[in-house]
Amino acid sequence: MKAHTRLEWNRNRYGYAYIMPWVIGFLAFSLLPMLSSLYISALKWDGLTEKTFVGLGNYIRLLGLEKKSTTSVLFWRSLQHNFLFMVFSGFGGLVLSLLMAAVMNEKVRGHNFFRVLFFLPSLTVPVAFGLMMQPIFAQGAGSGYQTGVINWFVTLFGGKEINFLGDPKLGIWTMIIISYWTVGSGMIVFMAGIAGLPKSYYEAAQLDGAGWWSRFFNVTVPLLTPVLFFQTIMALIGGLRILDLAVSLAGMGDPTKTNMGANDSLATLVYFLYKKGFRDWKMGEAAAIGWFIFLIGLVFTVAILVYMRRQNNDGAAGVEGV
């Protein structure tokens, strides 16, 4: 037994040596900070003065389980915004980019030009993107001088200006619409996926008289399932982590601007985490928000992976059955 272990060790030692830098990096820069943040989430601490252990107090306060407070109201609003962003920007963006990839794959006239055109916005830094979008969605409040382009059109046809960025009911929808500008990156991934699909399936479907939509739903989508799952997980994680776009749209930077957009209309979980930690000096609550983000991401990812595994197993069983 001992000889066997030694033999295994000798055989694998180079492998262990090769992965060691990553393992050390993971322990030092991921696992340790995570454990440290778990500990901090159980503290009432401002990062500078003494720590008080409060157990699950920060989690209870964020959820508003004992009493409703401004903190719990903002937490739930941020969470709601994140879910909306995940569903409409994440899944919506996914559908849009998949459709665009399918159309681009048809080699329509000028498809190379459109491919570059759709992809270009994805290269813009989100902060710059947010700043760029302000003059488009800005509300000039009837001043007639700095109304954003969209509101300019609205007023041109006799409508009343819309407070896209400052209305708590509209802020998140504005962010979702803005995020569609970057669906080009998803399109490229799907295009690569579609390019790898066997042409014979399409030819067979065409011979059977299947139209474009039929080929899309019955050939492209099922065969792209692994790519779709990967993109879904990435979209979910991206939706949970949204910060830069919200911060740049809210113009936070001035210490007098302590809210997440006018009326906290652009609140998201990571933005709330930043505000709690670095504006309100509540490191415990900030760490607890971080753990909520992690847990939500984990639940969704595991659910998708389990679903994906079941789908694969069902597929395999189906093949065996034939």
Binding site: T70, Q139, S143, G166, P255, A262, W281
Partner: protein
């Protein structure tokens, strides 16, 4: 040989002191545009006098206002803050004063003398439990700054530079100053200012405090008959188009509260001396006057002001050099140099001299243009000094609905009271 060795040793020691590396003191402050040059000149003045004598070099690290506070937060948390930190209660003083970030100055040599010469209320605003955690260097006062050409065009007389007009008179003037263009849209407004600050001053002018304390509040005290009347006056500024509609963001068409009259489309702004260089650069002929008062409530005269201070970082590696700089900057000589940057000095002797010889001290305006600041100085009320930004957020969000005419003054006062009381209970829990 022994003598020669001794002489050589003395020469080496002397040479070492001559060529010793100076103590470098990092001094950080918000500054932008011409302010950066003015503060660099202030630092140069120290370096070429006391600094040269004591082998200290102060290195000025300017940053834009927002970036300054962002960086301060992270450097303090990382234990790498500058040696001398600038403070303003328009910024985040409260966050730091309550968290043991600064060196208490009480027992440091020469500090008791420095404190003696400074304006007492300003010193108190930076004192916690009897410890001087920072010292005031400047008194920022907001007064009305107006565009003379727009008043003249409207056929209005120039306001008195020292005696405040009444709000009733101001509202009457507004009827001629807020103007619409041919398309029905406003092309000119009477006043553009930071309304959150104005709310506090107007409440004070009604004899109402918004909270029971500005450093450790336990309840909101604005939900009274007078408090609601004060809020109704604020809402009237929007209803009657005295001010441009408030969207919660600065609207570049009307500038900012500190340069609005430079746009040529705003008649009055509520700004401090720091706003004057921009107006001067825009070649606007301007005058200043005190903040108006309500008829019959003159005894409650009030305006928003700030105390600019400096503190020594507790973890400073150049503590002695930093203390020397603080001592110089709060002395009469240092304060007269500082006054050139625009603020009113916190040192009482320097303040008296600045008032007497404003023509020699101030470069951004005439003595006449500085009169309103000196006149409003005794009526200054300052911002909240709280450990977190939660109250500012709640206040700002709640008031915004009222500015936009989406909430009544009574509903606003009730909401502030309900949510503010809850917040304060949590804040000190």
């Amino acid at each position: 040989v022994k003598k020669l060795a001794l002489i050589a040793l003395v020469l080496v020691a002397y040479g070492a002191t001559l060529f010793a590396e100076p103590t470098v003191v990092r001094y950080s402050r918000w500054a932008g545009g011409s302010e950066t040059e003015m503060f660099q000149a202030l630092v140069d003045s120290f370096n070429s006098t006391v600094g040269k004598e004591k082998n200290i070099t102060v290195k000025f690290e300017p940053l834009p206002w927002g970036a300054y506070w962002e960086k301060l937060r992270t450097t303090v948390l990382a234990g790498d803050a500058p040696d001398v930190i600038s403070l303003s209660n328009a910024g985040e003083n409260g966050s730091y004063l309550t968290r043991g970030v600064f060196l208490p100055l009480n027992k440091e040599a020469g500090m008791a003398d420095a404190v003696k010469d400074l304006a007492k209320p300003a010193v108190e605003s930076l004192t916690v439990n009897g410890k001087y955690l920072g010292l005031p260097i400047g008194l920022g006062v907001r007064a009305m700054v107006y565009n003379k050409a727009l008043l003249k065009e409207a056929g209005l007389a120039m306001p008195d530079p020292v005696k405040p007009m009444t709000w009733e008179q101001f509202m009457k003037m507004s009827e001629k100053l807020s103007k619409k263009g041919a398309d029905g849209k406003f092309t000119q407004y009477t006043l553009y200012c930071s309304m959150d600050e104005m709310v506090d001053s107007v409440c004070n002018q009604y004899g109402v405090q918004m909270t029971d304390s500005k450093s450790k509040p336990s309840k909101v005290t604005v939900n009274t008959k007078d408090g609601i009347a004060a809020l109704a006056f604020i809402q009237d500024l929007y209803k009657k188009n005295v001010c441009p509609p408030n969207t919660g963001e600065w609207q570049t068409a009307w500038g900012t509260p500190d340069n609005a009259i430079a746009t040529g489309k705003v008649a009055f702004m509520l700004s401090g001396p720091w706003g004057l260089p921009t107006v001067k650069q825009a070649n606007i002929d301007f005058g200043t006057c005190p903040v108006p008062v309500f008829a019959g409530k003159e005894k409650f005269r009030a305006t928003r002001g700030y105390i600019n201070g400096i503190a020594v970082y507790k973890g400073s590696k150049a503590k002695d050099g930093a203390l020397e700089f603080v001592k110089w900057l709060t002395s009469k000589a240092g304060q007269l140099e500082f006054t050139k940057t625009g603020d009113l000095p916190a040192n009482t002797a320097a303040l008296a001299e600045a008032q007497k010889n404003a023509d020699k001290v101030y470069t951004n305006g005439t003595p006449e243009q500085y009169k309103a600041y000196f006149a409003d100085l005794p009526y200054v009320t300052t911002a909240w000094n709280l450990p977190t930004s939660e109250w500012t957020s709640l206040f700002s969000n709640t008031m915004l609905d009222m500015y936009k005419l989406a909430a009544t003054p009574a509903a606003t006062a009730a909401k502030l009271e309900k949510e503010g009381n809850l917040l304060f209970a949590e804040m000190w829990d």
